[in-house]
């Protein structure tokens, strides 16, 4: 299946192409969301729609890195306007044979796959959605 491949620092991640609406450059500034968990970067105006942007690094509890995030991957989730802030987007590749990912099992991660000799972590759109909602419900 074709996946959009993007990076958080050096690590590569993939999402099914069908789950991604588009990739955009982040705006100069995000509007901060009052009382939102810290993983929520803020909201942005995408052609009249207000999109909530989540920093993928924080959502997956990855360590902080030196590279500023340069892309927003917008998920195609109906009226749920959600974007993932990532370091960069590499392109679209066919990803086959996903095997279990190492480490703690989280619904956001489907598994790992081999791509061009290197590993790529395949994300699960539904799981990502659930992880974002969980951020909001747990913080209370």
């Amino acid at each position: 299946m074709r996946h959009v491949i993007f990076r958080v620092e050096k690590e590569r991640y993939g999402l099914p192409l069908s789950a991604v609406r588009e990739v955009v450059v982040p705006p100069e500034r995000f509007t901060r969301v009052p009382r939102a968990p810290s993983a929520i970067t803020g909201v942005m105006n995408l052609r009249g729609r207000v999109v909530t942007v989540v920093e993928l690094r924080q959502l997956l509890s990855l360590p902080e890195g030196p590279t500023p995030p340069a892309r927003v991957v917008l998920l195609d989730r109906g009226r749920r306007d959600l974007g993932l802030l990532v370091t960069d987007v590499d392109g679209i590749e066919a990803v086959e044979r996903v095997s279990t990912a190492p480490g703690k099992l989280t619904p956001a991660i489907r598994g790992v796959a081999r791509l061009g000799g290197l590993g790529v972590t395949v994300l699960d759109p539904e799981g990502l959605d659930a992880a974002v909602v969980a951020l909001f419900t747990h913080s209370k």
Binding site: T31, R32, G48, G78, R80, L82, V133, F136
Partner: protein
């Protein structure tokens, strides 16, 4: 070959849901005033659901619908058989079927509901003394949507494993799409009352109509008509499919031996046509009682809706209005197509257009007018062109003469219009073509997300236009006029488009009030109350977004009225009232607001009790309580946890709910008022904006973020030195009028870091749930009128936000719900 039904699933779900909801409404009405028409209508709904479900292969739904149909039929024969328990049983069945439909919508198996089936069956046997017949269901397979894409040839044929032996069906070769193919659909046979073929009801009437339509298209379409190009082409395959789809249910469902049905289906629909065909199939499936002519109309209607090939499966296109029937062409009366142009220099195009309209209506009957009259009067005439068709005896010279001395109007052409259709049998194709031309008179179902998208995009267009205008201001003087003219034109067009989008979003309140009678009955039944629910003004329209938000609050208020407001029949009699309580839901329109009043004639609310409940919970001080007016006191019922209901039931009375009602109403830009008189009743008044909440905001800055505060809640603003304020237990107090208000600093409330400030700073005084508060902000940016957008997941999970908007600069700004911000 099995039929791929997945593409019909969306339509099945929406149609079945409509029928089941209508069935529920009928039942409630039936209990009150059982007229024969209501019973007939119920029968029709049950029967339609049965037909649709069985042809879709959803056996549990079909079986249940069949039992319901039997029972309704028994009631139809003798209305004395109807009692409360039967209504309860039928309502439960309707609910169960709705749940089943929802289940299949989520591609889960529908519940078998065997207990309910037994109950229904027993009841039927007890009523009639007759045995039960079995339900036949089509064996179909549901393929996944993805698979459908691949199988783009989409062959829909009546050939299936469920075909009863003995049927002499003649199958057209797959892939045949030649319009000339003769379709002979005959469906004869008797309509056995309990076990007849579901859906198309294999009655002679229906069958013969199918035959007529099928033959009509087969023979009547001019040969060589390409099916997916001209409107006629589009109509072609749909009607053709109707011929195919219509006999399908009898083919699949008639029990062997009941009737020698002969089914012939030929012509495989192209994929492009299939969406349109859905409507026809549904019309055919849902068809039970309408007389033959009605059917012809419905088929023609459905057939004439042009459907783009790329429409995704859930799109629902359905025609509602019957085609307008033109007057017969007779005698000297002739139909003329007239084209006019209003000069671009005309200052008052609306007046001129109106004059033209008046002159021409004096001559004869205006059959078609574009743009519509309201548009003309408003002067909205694209490029000045007006098209109309006029039936008159005056002839073209008469038309010319009558328009000769209208200033600024130029008659472009007057031609004889296409002749009125000849008798139906001769030219069904022409009929279909005309119906297609008349498509403007029809309605189309559109998904609400699409409407939301239109509104968002039009909003963006408006912003983009404003930006263009700004850019124009820095251009050299000589280059400006051309751009400004263009921008002006763009602006008018976009504004017009915006109006249209807003109009398209208007939906009658009946969409939600239609559910109330059923709910009222259920609540009253559970509480052993007697209630008459009167609903007026449900035809008044509101923006869809507001309507969606209102469904729950209205239901809650209704519950409140019946559950707390109304007394038990004995109490009522003791209080010299009639034993039946009355709840009135009145919708009115007052200028740019819609007012919804929900009123009961029950025991009323006691302001003293509400006050003491609020004081007991520490939400109100004793002094404030003493000063509070009754009207303010009634609103205390909207505070979380305040309820004076003696008993806490599962229906209402836990003090949750009224706060939610108030919040929703305020979030859409409305207000809630409560009036009550002890012993006389309670009235809730909701004042709502007509369209998507345009709210007045006070914009304030905190750190480098901007927030909006609803002006409705802002009492005033003052400036003071924050450090100099007196304090009580760490909380600063701001003198305001003759009281001291607690100060909250907005940066900490919203969690936005702001540098500490010295000296004077602005404070905004606002109304909160329990009195006024002062908010310390960094800067007041002024007022703005904005379009409120509802919060989408996950933002709606955050307390203290009532919406979001996009400012002219393109910056998203949150609108704060200060009371919730303070309490959460």
């Amino acid at each position: 070959m099995t039929m791929d039904m997945s593409r019909y699933l969306g339509l099945f779900i929406s149609e079945a849901t409509d029928h089941l909801e209508a069935l529920g409404r009928d039942l409630v009405q039936l209990e009150r005033e059982g007229t024969a028409t209501v019973v007939d209508s119920m029968f029709r709904h049950a029967h339609s659901v049965k037909g649709m479900a069985s042809s879709m292969g959803f056996e549990p739904i079909a079986v249940l619908a069949h039992r319901v149909e039997d029972l309704v039929d028994a009631v139809r024969q003798d209305r004395g058989r109807l009692d409360r328990d039967v209504v309860d049983l039928l309502l439960t069945a309707a609910d169960t079927m709705l749940a089943q439909v929802r289940a299949v919508a989520e591609s889960k198996p529908a519940d078998e509901a065997s207990v309910l089936l037994t109950q229904l069956g027993n009841r039927y046997i007890a009523m009639t003394g007759k045995g039960l017949a079995t339900t036949r269901v089509a064996k179909t397979t549901m393929s996944k949507p993805a698979a459908t894409d691949g199988a783009s040839t989409g062959t829909a044929s009546g050939d299936g494993p469920a075909r009863p032996a003995g049927d002499t069906a003649v199958e057209g070769p797959a892939g045949t799409t030649k319009p000339g193919t003769e379709s002979t659909a005959q469906a004869g046979g008797g309509a056995a009352s309990t076990s007849e073929a579901a859906g198309a009801q294999a009655s002679g009437d229906t069958g013969s109509v199918a035959e007529k339509v099928a033959k009509g298209t087969g023979a009547g379409t001019p040969s060589g008509t390409s099916r997916s190009q001209s409107p006629v082409g589009i109509a072609g395959p749909t009607v053709d499919l109707a011929a195919q789809g219509l006999p399908l249910p009898p083919d699949l469902l008639t029990p062997p031996g009941t009737s020698p049905n002969v089914v012939s289906a030929s012509g495989v629909p192209s994929v492009g046509a299939a969406e349109g065909a859905v409507a026809v199939v549904a019309a055919a499936l849902g068809l039970v009682e309408p007389p033959p002519n009605d059917l012809v109309d419905r088929l023609k209607d459905a057939a004439s809706v042009p459907v783009p090939a790329q429409t995704p499966p859930p799109a629902e296109v359905r025609s509602v209005l019957p085609p307008r029937v033109p007057a017969e062409a007779r005698g000297p009366m002739q139909r003329w197509a007239v084209r006019l142009r209003i000069a671009p220099t005309c200052q008052v195009p609306g007046v001129r257009a109106f004059l033209v309209h008046k002159r021409l209506t004096n001559l004869g009957t205006l059959v078609d007018l574009r743009p519509a009259l309201e548009e003309l009067k408003a002067g909205r005439i694209p490029d000045g062109y007006i098209q109309l068709e006029l039936e008159t005896t005056a002839g073209d010279t008469g038309i010319h003469a009558s328009l000769k001395n209208v200033v600024d109007v130029e008659v472009v052409s007057v031609k004889p219009a296409v002749a009125a259709p000849a008798p139906v049998v001769a030219a069904p194709a022409a009929e279909a073509a005309r119906a297609a031309n008349d498509a403007t008179a029809r309605t189309v179902r559109v998904r609400t997300e699409l409407l939301d998208y239109f509104l968002d995009t039009v909003g963006e267009l408006m912003l983009a236009t404003a930006r263009l205008r700004e850019v124009g201001k820095v251009l050299p003087e000589n280059a400006r006029p051309a751009l400004e003219e263009g921008v002006y034109r763009l602006h008018t067009l976009v504004k017009d488009l915006h109006d249209k989008v807003m109009t398209a979003r208007m939906t009658p309140l009946s969409l939600i009030t239609d559910r109330l009678p059923r709910a009222a009955r259920d609540i009253a039944r559970r509480k052993e109350r007697e209630v008459d629910l009167v609903i007026t003004g449900a035809e008044i329209e509101l923006d869809r977004a507001i309507l969606d938000e209102l469904a729950d609050p209205l239901m809650h208020l209704l519950r409140n009225c019946i559950d707390h407001g109304l007394e038990s029949p004995e109490e009522r009699v003791a209080a010299k009232k009639g034993p039946r309580g009355r709840v009135l839901v009145a919708v009115k329109r007052a200028r740019d607001r819609v007012i919804i009043e929900i009123e009961d004639d029950g025991r009323g609310m006691d302001p003293a009790k509400l006050k003491s409940a609020a004081v007991a919970r520490g939400l109100l001080s004793v002094e404030n309580a003493a000063r509070m007016s009754d009207r303010e006191a009634f609103l205390l019922s909207c505070l979380p946890g305040v309820s004076t209901a003696k008993d806490i039931t599962d229906i209402s009375g836990r003090g949750v709910g009224m706060d939610a009602v108030k919040r929703v109403v305020e979030n859409v830009g409305g207000t809630l008022e409560i009036d009550s008189e002890k012993g006389r009743g309670t009235r809730f008044t909701l004042r709502l904006p007509l369209t998507v909440a345009v709210v007045h905001l006070l914009l304030v800055e905190v750190g480098d973020e901007v927030f909006g505060l609803p002006i409705a809640k802002v009492v005033g603003a003052t400036e003071a030195d924050g450090e100099a304020l007196s304090r009580s237990r760490e909380t600063a107090l701001l003198p305001h009028g003759n009281s001291l208000l607690p100060v909250h600093s907005l940066d900490t409330l919203v969690g936005v870091p702001a540098p500490p400030r010295q000296g004077a700073r602005p404070f905004v005084v606002m109304d909160a749930d329990s009195g006024r508060v002062a908010l310390a902000v960094d800067r007041l940016l002024g007022q703005e009128e904005v379009v409120l957008k509802p919060l989408s997941r996950p933002l709606d999970l955050l307390p203290g936000l009532s919406g979001v908007t996009i400012l002219g600069s393109g910056r998203p700004v949150f609108i704060l719900d200060v009371p919730r911000l303070l309490s959460a």
